[in-house]
Amino acid sequence: MATKSGRVISAEKPFRWKQALLKWEVFLVIIFIAVNIMNACISPYYMSVNGLFTATSSFLEKSFIVLPMAYVLLLGEIDISVGATVALSACMLGISFNAGMPMGAAVLICLLTGSLCGALNGLILTKFQELAPMIVTLGTQILFRGIAEILLTDQATGGFTKVAWFKNLYWGKVGPVPIMFLIFAVCAAVFGVIMHCTTFGRRMYAIGSNPLAAKYSGIHVQKIRFIIYTITGTFSAVTAIFLASGMGSARSNIASGYELEAISMAVLGGILTDGGKGNFPGAILAIFILGFLRYGLGLVNVASQLMMVIIGLLLIVVVMVPNLNLGRIFKKKETKA
């Protein structure tokens, strides 16, 4: 071109140890190891393959929500209706099962319910883009929980344990490995790939970083938002299925507070609430850090109240640390240069 200076721009990613080491995931891995060491020290029962795998089942069932929640947070949005969605879908599962349907059909209905709940969120949020997700999902949270109460009043719907394969979803094992663990592993892998290797994932990052720019780049922003909220509903239903399998019954008041736990895990995993940041492996790591921490402390019967304090502080500190230290390190290095 006229003013072309023939400048060459490299397409090779410059590798810097500093950045590689300061990666959030590295930090998480360190914490993860630390947690395990601590646990192994404080409890003789901790370091057993069987025990650990069993332990996973006590937090994996709610971790299914973390997968889509990571997406929601990546968009810079939030969904606090998932807990209620779990309850509602579980109730639908029970109702349809006890209405004489085969369990397979009941499971489908459960998934459908969850998806519908998610779709409702998505619909409202895409039709009324002025509304903050926090509010809408707060409303639907109460609504879904309410519908569950209307359906089941104060009763439980149970008897799922009669269906062997359904019970095995939560309790069954292949060797030492719980079936739920395997399923989770597969789902996690798929979600990870979607987030990092597909056009869909790239577009999510774009929307999360700058929705306007994404729109002007011809990305179906609203469509993608809708899809993600729907997926979130679907996977809340998946959690509902495992929960129902684990408890052999369902009530309108189950899974309370799951939304907050899911959010904590995702955020701990580095997928911050302001959108466009974080990687998927981080979220998975976070799930296991929190899970094993609780399990370890539980093994030595730390008072659950104290556990709350620990988890709470951990959450705050871990999110705060990088804001404080990373910055300082960079400054030092660069002002020297």
Binding site: A2, T3, R7, R202, Y216
Partner: protein, 500 residues
Amino acid sequence: MSEYVLELKGITKIFPGVKALDGVHFQLKAGEIHALMGENGAGKSTFIKVITGVHKAEEGEMFLNGKKVNFRGPRDAQEAGIAAIYQHVTAYPHLTVAENIFMGHEKVKHGIIQWKAMNEEANGLLRELNADFNATDEMGALSVAQQQMVEIAKALSMKARIIIMDEPTAALTKRESEELYRIAEKLREEGASIIFISHRFEDMYRLATRVTVFRDSKYIGTYEVDQISNGDLITAMVGREITDLFPKPEVKLGKEVLRVENLSRQGYFKNVSFSVKSGEILGLTGLVGAGRTEVVQTIFGAERYDSGKIFVEEKEVRIRKVQDALRLGIGLLTEDRQHQGLILDWGIGRNITLSEIEKYGSKIFTNEKAEREAAKKLAEEVDTKAVTIFDKASSLSGGNQQKVVVAKILASDLKVLIMDEPTKGVDVGAKAEIYAIMGELAKKGYAIIMISSEMPEILGMSDRITVMCEGRVTGELKRGEATQEEILKLAMAKSLKAAQ
């Protein structure tokens, strides 16, 4: 009492990793209008923030009326009578005009805000600037120009002796600029000293008596405006000669690519019609708020239109969303590249390929390698000042950001390029390059629509000029016959009619 109201010596400001200011000097005489010029990233804005106490300089000292001062925060500067009108208007959209004016120095009687007094005084100031809005209006409802007025009113309300204007005219049209000049003059006559930052030479010639030039965060020199030639000034700023600012190549026009007929959108524009041929650069001008941006946004599918027809290569098309426009080969460089054009904390590579990920990968999966190669090629083609395609877009200067956006729309195979204020906030050096690129694209057979408020560039670059006024097309001029006066007459047609 020294002859300088404000004097800064050897100011150095270091941000993590970069020296934003490197021992710069500056002297402001009492009652003068002093232009401060330099390319983007030359350190002008940082310099201003140092004067107003927002940033603290690592080295150097500052004298106010000969006395050494040391501001701890913006408050100190305000109390010392220094007021700044920043480049990006810093308003509180949810608050009223009066509150915006008096923010930080509200009228208070034992702890209670005196609304009545504030509103009255605010209205007084606004009348002084003959503004067409009220102290009780909500700031968010005002136009950019009006908000600028409020900022100025704020400076006045603070009885500031030294007023700093950081690119005040960037967002203003010719007429509004004229108004601004008038105010500036008025302030000077009243004894205020003004520091005036701008990329527009006309601003400087019109107002300033002296001009100080920064380059690469260093002090280059201070000159008497009437003693320095345009060329020398540019050389001082850019550090190299710019031979031809408007390298408009002669291109033989192809067949018509885009035509709009009676396009209307309730409340924004009405019965807008124009057409553009391949290889042609159509200048679309008018006062800010004439509806130019709205028109192109609508053609690009970002907004819906109520009635009218759009033809692409003689075929009528219906454009409902951005995807339609892109598929039909219509691309848009938005005016606000920071928010609409780029994802600032992404690498330039990813920015360039964003809208065409699928082209390089498959429908589902991305193909990093192919993307990087393509991005590299495009980035080089528009000659971006960057080391790797992983440099963050935010790390580039305005000009280079604009180039990245150009590269981005070049990634998709388009026929029509719509450029909304392509050189807004871009420094002289980069401007020339962007014009050059436009020329090249025209040669390649793209049909280009360029929206601009800057007369020289409209006159210099476009084959045809369509002028809009208050939502309607008021005229069309050929390259030869167009003159500033002609355009201005059409641009203000409505108000002129009203005058008669």
